[in-house]
């Protein structure tokens, strides 16, 4: 985020342009959660499509409410011990003036808090991709509520909150490479190490059921990401937001090329899933870095992210952990790459005057980046694993093996994603009567 404007003479005044821009950016970031749902939903098998969509979608409900109740206060309130914030005026958003400006900026507090709310919603949704096909919906909903409370809100404070340790140390995280992507990727790794693999992992084919859905999701993510990245400067008075916008596009394009080139050489084909995954890896990698590097630097970061993430998604087969949709391979690895590459590619002419190794700077920024990366990674991994362990021991994290094999959609959501058969439906005159209705539900017979 932008350093507070420090012109001592004049306090910032409300900018209608920045306010309007930031409200649109907030809506763009909101779109990323359903986009992610499609991206993930297309990658699972038919029988668990709805569950995958719902794991993301439920975050729009749970985290929205928690953010209003206490999340914003915890993440951005007055610092205690460099670890956590609190501001009782912000609990329930009950005592915030409509024209009260976010400290040092030109936008109202209400605009800042709704923009940040969308980040808090997206981050737990990212984790869900690693847990495909096998987690009880109630357990997941509880996990989301607990995880944002003990992991996301504190980590957002560390990285972006005034007084947070990473923020004060000078770790650069423009839009969430550490707070969002490394955080979610490490959490995913922690949880899957506790709950284990899907039935049939490495034995049964688990092909994506709809690549067009994946492509749609990736495209919408790319679109929403402009709000996520460019909006993170909270205004555009000095052009850094526009630099971020450009670099978002540039790195993502380069990452598509990087992933596809690796894939063509290694596996012999340019795949659709590779193009979509490459785009996301580039978006992740440029997220922390885009305000500090040049467009050529963004091309380098994108290419590196595309190739390295394409290699990283194979690791799960080697090590035998079931990161179902490669949250670790894409988000954690991509986030680490972007965060560390700042230490090499920062030009010193973007968001700060600190230059990276390739631009005449020393190792100073690189060490700071390492501290941010590994601090967040270790905390998120351990606490997420403990949360998953506690939930597993109490209410149980996983559905039964029978349910998993038959398909989690029917058991957990009482629906199926697609009606493939046009047969039936005309039996009103001579068919059997509907079964006795269950309490509260109208029962109709469907032969499928």
């Amino acid at each position: 985020m932008a350093p507070a404007i420090t012109l001592a003479a004049e306090a910032p005044t409300l900018s209608a342009a920045n306010t309007g821009f930031m409200l649109i950016c907030s809506a763009l970031v909101m779109l990323m959660t359903p986009a992610l749902a499609f991206f993930y939903g297309g990658m699972v098998r038919v029988k668990s499509t709805l569950n995958m969509l719902m794991m993301s979608f439920i975050s729009l409900g749970i985290v929205t409410v928690l953010w209003v109740l206490y999340g914003f206060s915890m993440a951005f309130g007055t610092d205690s011990g460099s670890l956590i914030g609190w501001n009782s005026d912000w609990v329930g958003l009950s005592n915030i003036g409509l024209t009260e400006l976010w400290d040092g900026y030109t936008i109202p507090v209400f605009v800042f808090l709704v923009f940040q709310m969308m980040f808090a919603i997206l981050t737990p949704a990212l984790i869900s991709g690693a847990l495909a096909d096998r987690v009880k919906f109630t357990a997941w909903a509880l996990f989301v509520a607990l995880w944002v409370t003990v992991v996301y809100f504190p980590v957002a404070h560390w990285v972006w909150g005034a007084g947070g340790w990473a923020f004060e140390l000078g770790v650069i995280d423009f839009a969430g490479g550490t707070a969002v992507h490394i955080n979610a990727g490490a959490a995913a790794l922690g949880v899957i190490l506790v709950i284990g693999k899907r039935v049939g992992f490495k034995r049964d084919p688990m092909r994506p059921h709809s690549l067009p859905l994946v492509m749609l999701g990736a495209g919408l993510l790319w679109f929403g990401w402009f709000g996520f990245n460019a909006g993170s400067w909270l205004g555009n008075d000095d052009g850094v937001g526009a630099l971020m916008f450009v670099n978002t596009q540039v790195a993502t394009g380069a990452a598509v090329l990087g992933w596809l080139a690796y894939e063509k050489i290694r596996h012999g084909a340019f795949t659709t899933l590779g193009a979509a995954s490459g785009a996301v890896s580039g978006l992740v990698a440029i997220t922390p870095a885009g305000g500090a590097v040049s467009p050529l630097g963004a091309i380098a970061i994108g290419l590196i992210a595309g190739v390295v993430c394409a290699m990283a998604v194979g690791l799960k087969y080697k090590f035998g952990y079931d990161d179902s949709l490669d949250v670790v391979g894409v988000h954690m690895v991509g986030g680490i790459l972007g965060s560390l590459l700042i230490g090499f590619f920062a030009t010193g002419k973007g968001q700060s005057d600190v230059a990276g190794l390739f631009y005449g700077g020393g190792l100073d920024q690189l060490w700071k980046q390492c501290a941010g990366v590994f601090g967040v990674l270790a905390y998120s991994l351990v606490v997420s694993a403990v949360l998953a362990f506690l939930l597993d021991r109490t209410i149980g994290m996983r559905v039964s093996e029978d349910v998993e094999v038959a398909g989690i959609d029917q058991a957990e959501h009482a629906e199926t994603a697609y009606d493939f058969s046009g047969a039936g439906g005309g039996a009103a005159r001579t068919g059997t009567l509907p079964a006795t209705p269950v309490a509260g539900a109208q029962s109709k017979k469907v032969d499928a």
Binding site: P205, E263, R266, H267, V313, G314
Partner: protein
């Protein structure tokens, strides 16, 4: 009567339908099927994970004919279905005891 069944490549369906119409067949049933014979499946790659797809998509065509037409009709189908490459499929016939037209209740060859 005979029931002629053909399991063929999907993209030959229109040719076969046309040939059967020219021959004078009034009705047929088509089902999407999958299977394999000498033509084996193919490999697909998703994020580097290779999957062998054993079952190849095919079309299954069924036609009821009078005994005298059976041999000739098989020839017509085979000719229209053939590409000369592996995986062209199979055609076979089996005897049928009876057939009923549901609307009128007509039986035997009248029902065709």
């Amino acid at each position: 009567m005979k029931l002629i069944t053909a399991v063929v490549k999907p993209h030959r369906l229109d040719e076969i339908k046309e040939a059967l119409q020219t021959f004078g067949v009034h009705g047929l049933t088509v089902t999407e099927a999958s299977g394999y014979g000498r033509q084996r499946g193919h490999t697909e790659v998703y994020r580097g994970a290779e999957y062998t797809v054993d079952l190849v998509p095919k079309i299954r065509i069924e036609v009821l004919v009078e005994d005298d037409d059976a041999e000739q009709l098989i020839e017509v189908v085979v000719k229209a279905a053939r590409t000369g490459k592996i995986g062209d499929g199979k055609v076979w016939s089996i005897p049928v005891d009876t057939a009923v037209r549901v609307r009128t209740g007509e039986r035997g060859p009248d029902a065709l």
